[in-house]
Amino acid sequence: MVEENFAYGRSFIHKLDPKIRIIASIVLSFATALCDNLYLAMIYSFISIFLILMAGLNTIDVVKRLKPLFWFLLMIWIILPLTFEGDILYRFYGFKITGQGVVLCIKITIKSISILFLFTALIATMTVASLGNGLHRIHVPDKMVFLVLMTYRYISVIEQEYKRLLRAAKFRGFNPGTNLHSYKTFAYLAGMLFVRASLRAQRVHQAMLCRGFNQKFHTLDDYPPNRLNSIFLMGICGASASLVILEMIWVEI
């Protein structure tokens, strides 16, 4: 379930320092999110598609990741054009579709897909271990980094426990449906997960004590300085800055 499918490529992007990738994706994501101009939003989407191509990812897998977004977009495409105030584009049976509503939907669609694409290209292409390392080096507090790494580490362990519990329940005739008994069973399963998690946390903590844990976390990964890193970061920041400035001037006109 928590497979790092994209993390093991050999592309130019995979070779970049995680820290650089995190900073670049923050800068570019926010620039995209703040953009309010349809044409500039399209430029951001070209950049994000370009990054996906550079990362050499499987297109189908990348598009599949948009599924959660798809439902949201579907909803706003149904609601916004009908409810947004503005010039009426089209009228039928008392419903009015407004131009502004449609334009906003297009903008949101382009921007949201762009932001997710560049997240996929820059962040999902690293292992969680590298993400932790990168976060550590942009001075995210140790405890936060540790939480991310540790939580990730035990997701698959707890998922296995969940599967075993659910299988055992199904062997005993549990057939999930829309009824109180099913909800109660799932509540107990979830409760059991929390119990197991807590007991496991005790043992893990004991194991850490046995190995001399002294409230300090260490990271080992080393990323030698590489000119590509700074060139990439400057490229991304430069592009974002010029697009932001361009939008400001555009509004002036």
Binding site: E4, T127, V128, A129, G132, L149, M150, Y152, R153, Y154, S156, V157, R200, R203, V204, Q206, A207, M208, L209, C210, R211, G212, F213, N214, K216, H218, T219, L220
Partner: protein, 243 residues
Amino acid sequence: MIDNDSVIKLEDISFSYTGSDIQVLDHLNLEINKKDRIGLIAPNGSGKTTLLHTIMGLCKPDSGTIKVFGKILNNEKDFLQVRSKVGLLFQDSDDQLFCPTVLEDVAFGPLNLGFSRTEAIDIAEKTLKRLGIQLFEHSVTHKLSGGQKRLVALASVLAMEPEVLLLDEPTAGLDNKVKKKLIHILNSLDISYFVISHEFDFANAVTDKIYSMENGRILRDDEIHIHHHEHVHQHGKHPHIHK
């Protein structure tokens, strides 16, 4: 017995979990000396894991004394000092391996002992090599198989260069190949160890004497032949063992 040969000595240890009135350890005595290779075979729930956790200071006994290298351990600070000398291999490797990658996990102990990064990496690499699993160095821990996890967990304990090793059911859930490997590794160690197992063959292959546990106490070889006898009969297939 000469006292400076003694590595771990438990005297009159009693322990029960808070909120339960079962004496898991009841005036228990145990001594592990230098070069000792001791096995412990006892049914589930007889308190084996609790015993190991008491030695490590993870369970605080209600009464009795724990001596490690001749020094009585009373508080957390005393235990902290000996934890690097006594290595405990946990029953479930997932409890023990909590770092993202194998190398980080094995280096975690040495780093805590104050070694520099390069030294720690060096120690970790050497330990992995010693156990023949250097290929996994950069693997992501939770994606390893059960057997690989067990070996990495053992490496993470051995990397701290303990003087005595406590192993909690190291063969549970392993296939024969890994079991053989484990037998080979344990037999090549020159430190004393105390190993809990459910498998008589395994315990026999890696230890010189076998204890059992009953009613919160340790039973030595001479007291446990009855148990083996029953055990063997229960499982039918094996030849009788009469000591």
